[in-house]
């Protein structure tokens, strides 16, 4: 009995001293939490701009004019060496696990390969990717009294998303994209951040830019219109003007091969409310006009992406692989000739007079 008590006491004390996890640990005050990463390439040298969360002190300080972020920079022949360089200048151990957004520069040659590396560095696969001509400028963009924090950027992105101005592309989406992925284009103008279209991102960089007014079409074709979005579709008719708000949308997709051409069939069912109707247009007239408008938006988006830039941002390959696997060779060789068979059905729920 005595022997077992002695062993128990020794074990407890040994555990207390040896299992404290103190050795080799990095304390929070010695760690810098990266929120935003900007990556650019110039003369084969990578430049990384890192936005780091910086606490202004404790005690429930709610002064939003203060900056809660700081920017650090690093250069190197690879992205990781550039981050190491930034770490040296920062003086703290960098933690990439909380990175919310990566801004990829125009001149980065192999964006997919370069960014996939971050997955091995413990970065969340749901980290968002945006595209910019000048990533460092985005990181440095200031609000009145302080710097843009990643949280603010996310809020702006969410607003744009809900209004149909952008689609989200995560690190995992980019890494696993078969052909290309749509990456939102971010711009900074006089300290104001705005999103302006989509970059059709391929393995070897941008294949082209899709204009902002076609992004709604991309959202419909990709089934990314959510119930809490507030997408407004203006309707212009000779009898008068009106606007509808999309309440929800459902997109069914399928692929088939017809006469040596891949046909991508899309059925969109839209549930919408008439927002304003000063011309007192009939429901049928509005419904037909909305249908035509959505069809036009989708066809424009499809044409820009598939026919013009040979970019599969609608994941057509998944439907070819699933419904007509024997046509994968045709997909690989003649993708830009893919045909869009589109059906749009609009249901107007109520007329607000």
């Amino acid at each position: 009995m005595k022997k077992s008590i002695v062993i128990l006491v020794i074990s407890v004390f040994a555990a207390m001293f040896f299992l404290t996890s103190c050795s080799g640990a990095v304390e929070v005050n010695n760690r810098a939490f990266v929120q935003l990463i900007g990556i650019d390439l110039k003369d084969e040298i990578y430049t990384v701009s890192l936005q780091i969360f910086e606490s202004q002190g404790s005690g429930g300080d709610t002064d939003t004019s203060k900056s809660y972020s700081a920017a650090v920079y690093g250069k190197g022949s690879t992205i990781l060496s550039a981050i190491s360089d930034a770490e040296i200048s920062q003086g703290k151990k960098l933690f990439l696990g909380h990175t919310k957004v990566i801004v990829i520069g125009k001149s980065v040659k192999n964006p997919v390969k370069d960014l996939s590396m971050f997955l091995d560095e413990g970065m969340s696969p749901s980290c968002l990717i945006v595209y910019s001509d000048n990533p460092a400028q985005i990181i440095e963009t200031k609000m009145s009294g302080g710097m843009y924090s990643a949280q603010y950027l996310l809020m702006i992105m969410q607003n744009n998303y809900q209004h149909g101005k952008l689609v989200y592309t995560t690190l995992s989406d980019l890494a696993s994209a078969k052909n290309s992925a749509p990456v939102p284009v971010i711009e900074s103008e006089e300290d104001i951040i705005k999103f302006n279209g989509l970059c059709l991102m391929k393995d070897d960089g941008s294949a082209g830019i899709m204009p902002s007014d076609e992004v709604i079409g991309v959202k419909f074709l990709r089934n990314e219109v959510l119930s809490n979005d507030s997408i407004t579709i203006p309707v212009v008719l000779p009898e008068g003007n009106t606007a509808v708000t999309v309440r929800s949308s459902k997109t069914k997709r399928c692929a088939s091969e017809e006469n040596g051409i891949i046909a991508f069939s899309v059925d969109i069912t839209v549930d919408a409310d008439i927002k304003e109707n000063p011309g007192k247009l009939s429901n049928n007239a509005v419904s037909d006009a909305v249908k035509a408008k959505i069809e036009q938006l989708c066809r424009n988006a499809f044409y820009t992406s598939v026919s013009t830039h040979n970019s599969d941002i609608f994941d057509i390959y998944k439907y070819v692989r699933k419904y007509t696997p024997q046509s994968m060779d045709l997909y690989n060789s003649d993708f830009s000739n893919t045909r869009l068979d589109l059906t749009v059905d609009v249901k107007l729920n109520s007329v607000k007079k």
Binding site: S124, S176, P325
Partner: protein, 354 residues
């Protein structure tokens, strides 16, 4: 009079939890010509094969219910008993070592890259030795609680991932049918815990057959559900990640708590402890049958496992071919089907003669 210690339901949950341990760090082999549809079909075929494979154990249990396969072998012939015991012991010890290495790799790669591998392994084994020393009853009771936690986590994960589900990610690719055979053998190897049935006969009084077949059915449901979730949520990205189940958790975490993977880690750690403890309990049980006078059997089993882990800990390698061979599907077939079948036939002949 023989004392039965656990119920058939407890055995079912215990085995299921051992399978969940492997499932939680399931690494798909899509890049090598496999697709998820192949994996899903392979699991069904593998389960059917396992249902056939366990028939000798079920028959043996019907004939002599109060003894394990090794005990029956010992009661007939000492030499035969030693041969059978060594085969089972080597399998269980190597299987445990594989589990420890798998756990150690997962923890150090995903959560604590700077952690000392030796300390991780030693601490885990000390806990598992103590748990196995407490006996199968305690492990069975704990497994019930852990199983509830796992189900809760899975339901939460599925619910939170619902928005990311894309059914176009699931497809059936006929061109990969040639890899079906190797996918089935790999699935069989991943189900090494089925050999536990050859040892647990003495612990369950009633409904042993029910326990075994319910386990196979529930395991199939669990495997298919997890793989289907991985497929429809991650799609092609699943092939690019080491631990897809953990990645699904990371996705779900975006809408719940920032680090959902920490919940995953806690549950997987407890599952690892139960799995390794069960295997250590069986290994020390086999030592007890072969060498009844030996002391500190649980500690000896634990030390052997630690020694087997040393090559991995020193070199930092993930695999050693010899370990893979010992815990392969062929070993599973030998231990759960061939040996129990020989013992059953031997018993039948002996009874006929008597």
């Amino acid at each position: 009079m023989k004392k039965y210690t656990i119920g058939w339901g407890q055995l079912l949950i215990l085995l299921l939890l051992c399978r969940i341990f492997t499932l939680m760090t399931f690494v798909p082999l899509i890049g090598e010509g496999y697709t998820f549809s192949t994996q899903l079909i392979a699991s069904v075929i593998s389960t059917v094969i396992q249902a056939v494979m366990i028939i000798p154990v079920i028959l043996l249990n019907k004939t002599i219910s109060s003894k394990s396969t090794t005990e029956i072998a010992f009661s007939r012939n000492k030499v035969w008993g030693y041969i059978v015991s060594i085969l089972y012991f080597v399998f269980f010890i190597v299987y445990t070592a594989n589990g420890v290495i798998c756990f150690q790799r997962f923890i150090t790669v995903r959560f604590y890259p700077s952690a000392n591998r030796y300390i991780w392994t030693a601490v885990l084994l000390i806990v598992c030795i103590y748990c196995s020393y407490l006996g199968i009853e305690g492990l069975a009771r704990s497994s019930g609680i852990v199983f509830v936690l796992f189900v809760a986590m899975f339901v939460l994960m599925t619910g939170l991932s619902a928005a990311d589900i894309d059914l176009s990610n699931y497809y059936f690719d006929r061109t990969y049918n040639s890899s079906l055979f190797s996918a089935v053998t790999e699935d069989l190897a991943r189900n090494g815990e089925i050999t536990v049935l050859a040892f647990m006969m003495k612990h369950v009084e009633k409904k042993y057959r029910c326990s075994a077949y319910c386990y196979l059915a529930s395991k199939l449901i669990a495997v298919e559900a997890v793989m289907f979730l991985i497929t429809v949520v991650l799609g092609d990205f699943a092939a690019m990640t080491d631990y897809p189940f953990l990645t699904v958790g990371a996705y779900a975490g975006v809408r719940f708590i920032q680090r959902f993977d920490s919940i995953y880690m806690v549950i997987w750690t407890i599952t690892a402890v139960i799995n390794i403890s069960v295997m250590l309990y069986i290994s020390s049980g086999i030592i007890n049958e072969a060498l009844p006078k030996m002391k500190y059997k649980h500690c000896i089993s634990g030390v052997i496992v630690f020694l087997l882990c040393l090559p991995f800990l020193i070199s930092g390698e993930n695999k050693l071919p010899i370990y893979g061979m010992i815990s392969s599907s062929y070993s599973v077939i030998l231990l759960i089907m061939v040996i129990p079948f020989i013992i059953y036939i031997e018993e039948k002949i002996r009874r006929k003669k008597a």
